[in-house]
Subunit: 470 residues, 2 copies
């Protein structure tokens, strides 16, 4: 029996679309009413999570969509998952909700077990974790660990100097040093101030915010299909790696860390080769730069490995690996104790993560492992990709640059324009599939880990219908 | 019947201390074991939250302490509160735990009600809220709203220019403008990068992090007792206000916002007058600077008003008021629609807050209002303060600069040195009271809102015993 069938015996088999327009009238009224207390301009529809099940999301008009967007890539197992319901009803969860400790000062006796469960799905080479609250928070906490280590190695075992202690209170060097994090054009790493400074996918994420003047390297831009452009793409790796090394050598302030997504997701599902990632690892090692991999969107099985960068067999493993979204909790994994700051209270805050979300993450991780969901996602992704190749052959302008082969369901393609892409996304909703875009002209598939062959078939059926109508 | 007696009929009446040292042997073993997966250096003891009740926190050695620190000021009602247990068991909470939506895109039908419940305890003059995840996050989200408005008013109705769109992708002006937030020496507003840039209470919070080179004004330093130094303190207000205005006029980049705590908490429980706060409001209005009040630690009744700045009757009300800690959810309140950015997706992220924590906040707010806990905190605080004045008369070097009169239980004092303060805090634990410090030589009381006369009497009894032993 399929895992989806086990979890969701009553999962719908088809979408149900009852309204001519989306949002329908009940959603529209809800959006207007919600708008009085919340910025509801970006709302697609008002969801009914009681009626959502498995891979299907319901709205208040009675529409039921096959969900391939899954809350911006953040639903791990599907709606109303019985294993997560059980975890949510546990006495441990109840305590975590009502007694949220200052974990760093007064952890409960269950914290060690909670963290160990989170660590059960740590990436290869990592066995420690520091917990945060969102993807942006995770990345910034990782930057803190990186900066503290970077300065500490220069300082050796010496104490902070009086000059450091005094100057940091004025936001000045040497206590508040001028250091940079190197990231990539088209990257997305969050929208707080340091995380926005390494983000460069769309201006709307960043406009009007003061920014750290940190550099952007070029992420490789490959020609597709990859098998027909091996030499060109190899040259692209070399070109972009040279830019990275040159920036590290020449940037006006020291570059303490480099952050990269295994697949640039928000920025257009841009892929790069294992050789490129190993090249980055080599350069960061050579120059003493902390290597941070942002797995916020790519993590927890969606690409057919537990963590997407494991496809690249990077050696040695990255220094820090950040997570959030589908794992429902956030933070960074690491291995080297050097990333625990030398003095207590440097990496610290009142809550140090949310134990409720950490318990849920543990429960999610357990299901992912016990049910073999990563291998299953890889299998269904391979099937879906091959089906999409057929659709692309039939509608070449509507499925350009199909990508994500061997990356499970982490699949994307381009349309001929932003307007065409947006019309496509809307029409797909009208035909019963909730689906998302990324960058300007791309479509991204981000279904749950229980998206199976039957869902893929349904998706392709709706896709063909939609394309025939456009 | 007292609220505490209603909530906690079995609340302990005395601390129980079973171990000679704190942490005791079971805690010590737990700290060592936890240390393999978590930075346990700052842990005081391993708590047993099943056995904690009301104002008493239990540890794994069977010690039970009267808790006047309350998870760094973040327990609203006490441990194992029956109203919060009920909220945590609700179907709405279950859904919020397992179906965490991307609230900006696919809000559930219950979101409007959840937000309205949060708004029921909004500060005077505020009727909107934007939700985040922690105090630091709340402050940085408020900065984003402030910066976006600040630039938008200059831009008028014009679109972003091509130059703005392009330069922000390179972290350069004009798209990423050089703007500053003005804060105060000894302030604490969090430990992410922008929030750390406005924090200046201890170097350990900031060392080695690149910082925005934002200015720090001087927070008033009053002479105590206040009633004996009226003229000096008035002059201090004038002096420090002049510094603020001068910085706004002369700082090298425009100051878009000013952030201040109603009482500087982490930085030593430093108080300032209503006249000082009104002066700030006047200066910010005069210069078009957004006025942000950080109520993360002071908020939700602890000072005898729902929000501490309401003591000052600031007119017009502050622009943005941030919250977290005892409210369990985080974010900022506002009123003026100008703080909703002109374009959708500018103030946005995947989760836009945590509905589980927002539901809990609503339940907490309801209890605070229904049980009249703010007035009760004021009453017990007045009683406690008068008792502490007697203790201070007896032990003048151990209770210097007693402060927090008319601020409910938000009370603090100084000892003669950091070493004396730390010895005092430890001895209090040994005598059964969990209590916290702030700044270098201060002690701060941060009990729950159900800390009543009987708890105050117990506290004073242990305090007298401790002081007699030191």
């Amino acid at each position: 029996m399929s895992v989806a069938a086990k979890y969701y015996p009553n999962e719908p088999t088809e979408p149900v679309i009852k309204t001519a327009e989306i949002p329908g009238p009940a959603s529209k009224a809800g959006i207007e009413s919600l708008g009085k207390v919340f910025d509801s301009r970006p709302v697609y529809f008002i969801a009914d999570y009681e009626k959502s099940l498995g891979n299907f999301i319901a709205d208040v008009d009675g529409n039921v969509y096959l969900d391939t967007y899954a809350q911006i890539a953040s639903v791990p197992l599907g709606y109303n998952n019985p294993a997560l319901i059980e975890a949510a009803k546990s006495p441990e969860m109840l305590r975590a909700i009502i007694e949220r400790p200052a974990l760093g000062n007064f952890p409960g006796k269950d914290l060690e077990g909670i963290i160990k469960n989170v660590l059960k799905v740590a990436p290869e080479g990592q066995d420690q974790v520091w917990n945060g609250l969102s993807g942006a928070d995770a990345n910034e906490l990782a930057f803190k660990a990186a900066f503290m280590w970077y300065q500490q190695q220069k300082r050796g075992n010496a104490d902070f100097t009086t000059e450091e202690n005094e100057s940091t209170m004025e936001n000045q060097a040497p206590g508040s040093p001028d250091l940079a994090v190197l990231s990539f054009k088209r990257a997305f790493h969050g929208r707080l101030f340091a995380s926005a400074s390494v983000t460069a996918s769309k201006p709307v994420h960043k406009l009007d915010l003061p920014s750290f003047k940190w550099p952007k390297a070029e992420f490789p831009s490959y020609q597709y299909p990859l098998e027909d452009h091996v030499e060109e793409n190899k040259a692209e790796d070399a070109r972009t790696l040279a830019i990275v090394e040159n920036l590290i050598k020449t940037w006006s302030v020291p570059i303490a860390a480099l952050i990269i997504e295994p697949i640039q997701s928000e920025g257009g599902d841009n892929h790069a080769s294992a050789e490129f990632f190993q090249g980055l690892r080599d350069i960061t090692l050579k120059h003493g730069v902390v290597f941070i991999v942002d797995e916020v969107q790519t993590g927890l099985g969606a690409t057919g490995k537990l963590w997407a960068h494991e496809h690249f067999k990077i050696s040695p493993a990255p220094d820090l690996v950040t997570f959030s979204k589908k794992f429902q909790s956030a933070g960074y994994f690491f291995h080297d104790p050097k990333f625990v700051p030398n003095v207590a209270y440097r990496q610290f805050n009142t809550w140090c993560g949310d134990p409720a979300r950490m318990i849920l993450a543990g429960a999610i991780g357990k299901e992912v492992l016990d049910q073999g969901l990563v291998a299953k996602a890889a299998e269904v992704g391979d099937y879906l990709y091959s089906e999409l190749e057929k659709v692309a052959a039939k509608y070449p302008t509507k499925l350009q640059n199909l990508r994500g082969k061997n990356r499970a369901t982490f699949i994307a393609w381009d349309l001929e324009s932003g307007a065409a892409r947006n019309a496509f996304l809307y029409k797909m909703k009208q035909n019963g599939v909730n689906i998302g875009g990324c960058a300007e002209v791309s479509v991204r598939l981000r279904p749950t880990l229980t998206f199976e062959k039957k869902h893929a078939d349904l998706f392709v059926k709706v896709l063909n219908k939609t394309l025939s109508e456009l």
